[in-house]
């Protein structure tokens, strides 16, 4: 391919975690890179549940924990199985997560993404905000040669374009990397940021200082497949639900109604009593994981982050920002290498796939590929929570003068009552073991 003169070596679309990490890699490799953000500042369009796992930043920003705008370090993780009147919690706490290099952290995305984008500009990337990329430029052979923006005289050329333009990724769709959009691959996350004094949060959630809590809930979404979450920030609590799109529409339940009923649950209400709503927000999540991945490499184009559907929604593991940062970093690295070699065609960009394949990015997704579907299945959502909660309730219920039933009997009876077939139970167990095992 003949070397053509372009405005930039690389253009990265979207200054979220994927885009900023891509830009850091490219800028540090000495490439000219423009990072385009449609919001007034990086992070202004971004919302998530509330926990980020930033260990992948060790490679890019050593000692990131000393400067990243973190709200609290997660030292307590709870998984809650809920029915309207019951709640079973598995609660884990580790002080090992209260010191560097930490584990999970709560952070606000407008803060975190803004900080990360500043790291990219520090490295030499150029940042242009308030600019929407409306499409890509392509030559007669179909190779991506730049982007078109929504500004007058808004075309820019580059040797490689990295699409980190989020879950709706109009770029990846335009270039034909996605198959037909299927609403069942997506969930809607709605969240309330609820203000409470720091001391109240510390007291109610049993933490001190910068320690924080991460609570994931299944069975709290009124029959709409999904889940709920409660995360502690410094002086707010992030509380929300994630809802499978087609189910939400079919069940005729409004998102804010489902949040409201979640907030009223006896296991949740005392945590947030008296809290004032500071901000209501919503975002779509690419939830289906491995099964919905688009092609990640196009002619002159790489796709990373939510745009590549790199979100891990595997029940006990709910991650996305780390996958975005890692995929962005590898995309930037692969693009920089391709630029150095002077080959930004599909085969020149292919090492991106190898990097993803050999890292956690695709390994985790491959291993857990059946899990998102399992977690959002009707049985896990609507039958198992009641089944499990009833078993526990009967175990702990003192029903004198009736003697205690054996666990075996409870299990058999409750299985029957819940209408769960052995076949399904075994199959789901196997799927779970295959993924989690």
């Amino acid at each position: 391919m003949a070397e053509r003169s372009t405005d930039f070596d690389a253009i990265v679309v979207g200054a979220g975690p994927a885009g900023s990490c891509a830009a850091i890699e490219l800028a540090r490799a000495g490439k000219s890179v423009l990072l385009i953000e449609r919001g007034p500042f990086p992070g202004s369009k971004n919302m998530y549940g509330g926990v980020v796992y930033p260990r992948i930043l060790d490679e890019l920003i050593p000692q990131w924990w000393e400067e990243a705008p973190i709200q609290r370090w997660v030292t307590r993780r709870s998984t809650m199985i809920m029915t309207p009147t019951q709640a079973l919690t598995i609660d884990f706490r580790s002080q090992n997560w209260a010191a560097p290099p930490y584990n999970g952290a709560t952070a606000y995305r407008p803060d975190f993404d803004h900080w990360l984008a500043n790291k990219a500009t520090d490295a030499g990337a150029q940042l242009l905000c308030s600019t929407v990329v409306t499409g890509v430029l392509r030559d007669s052979a179909g190779n991506v040669t730049g982007v078109r923006t929504d500004r007058p005289d808004g075309d820019l050329t580059a040797k490689v374009v990295i699409a980190c333009d989020g879950v709706n990724s109009f770029i990846a769709k335009e270039v034909g990397l996605y198959g037909k959009a299927d609403a069942s691959n997506y969930t809607l996350g709605v969240k309330e940021t609820l203000a409470l004094p720091k001391e109240t949060i510390d007291e109610r959630f049993g933490v001190r200082g910068r320690e924080g809590v991460d609570i994931e809930v299944v069975g709290c979404t009124e029959g709409v497949n999904g889940g709920g979450f409660v995360y502690t920030n410094l002086d707010t609590v992030s509380l929300g639900v994630v809802l499978k799109l087609p189910k939400l529409a079919a069940q005729k339940k409004r998102p804010e109604e489902i949040i409201a009923s979640f907030k009223k649950h006896p296991a949740i209400a005392p945590l947030i009593e008296g809290a004032e709503l500071k901000e209501y927000s919503a975002h779509v999540i690419p939830e289906a994981g491995y099964k919905m991945f688009p092609k990640l490499v196009g002619p002159g184009l790489l796709v990373a982050g939510d745009a590549a559907a790199l979100c891990l929604a595997a029940g006990i593991w709910l991650e996305g920002v780390n996958f975005a940062m890692a995929s962005g970093m590898y995309a930037g690295r692969a693009a920089a290498q391709a630029l150095t070699r002077g080959n930004t065609g599909p085969d020149g960009l292919k090492p991106y796939l190898t990097m993803l394949d050999t890292s956690f990015v695709l390994k985790d997704h491959q291993k857990l590929q059946e899990i998102p579907h399992l977690v959002l299945s009707d049985r896990v959502q609507n039958q198992y929570p009641g089944f499990i909660a009833n078993i526990v309730e009967r175990m702990f219920r003192v029903d004198n003068p009736t003697p205690k039933p054996g666990l075996r009997r409870i299990l058999l009876e409750e299985r029957k009552r819940a209408g769960i077939r052995w076949r399904d139970l075994l199959r789901d167990g196997r799927t779970g073991m295959k993924g989690f095992g």
Partner: protein
């Protein structure tokens, strides 16, 4: 028409939406094909849009607002009627601005 429950809290939906910052642009970034919606019996967008931008009308159509849009994409993803909702991002610098999300 779907009757929504209203006992979900003391805060009105308008107050809820008022907690988010929107820098509204004069051009609508959502366009809805009214004829297509009149033939739609399910009207998923009305239920699913977290900002309640879609309102059913008495003649079976759908009225829509674009101003307080989270730009999430739910509406066009759930829409069963091909091409009824054309959706893009608002002009750069406009639309939703998150603070503590």
């Amino acid at each position: 028409m779907t009757a929504f429950r209203t006992d979900w809290g003391t805060i009105s939906f308008d107050d809820r939406m008022a907690t988010s910052e929107f820098r509204i642009h004069e051009r609508a970034h959502i366009v809805v094909d009214g004829d297509a919606c009149r033939g739609c019996s399910t009207q998923e967008c009305v239920v699913a849009c977290p900002a309640r931008l879609f309102v059913p009308t008495s003649d079976g159509g759908v009225l829509f607002n674009y101003e307080q849009c989270f730009e999430c994409g739910t509406c066009y993803l759930v829409c069963n009627t091909k091409g009824a909702i054309s959706w893009n991002y608002p002009e750069g610098g406009h639309g939703i601005v998150f603070h503590q999300t």
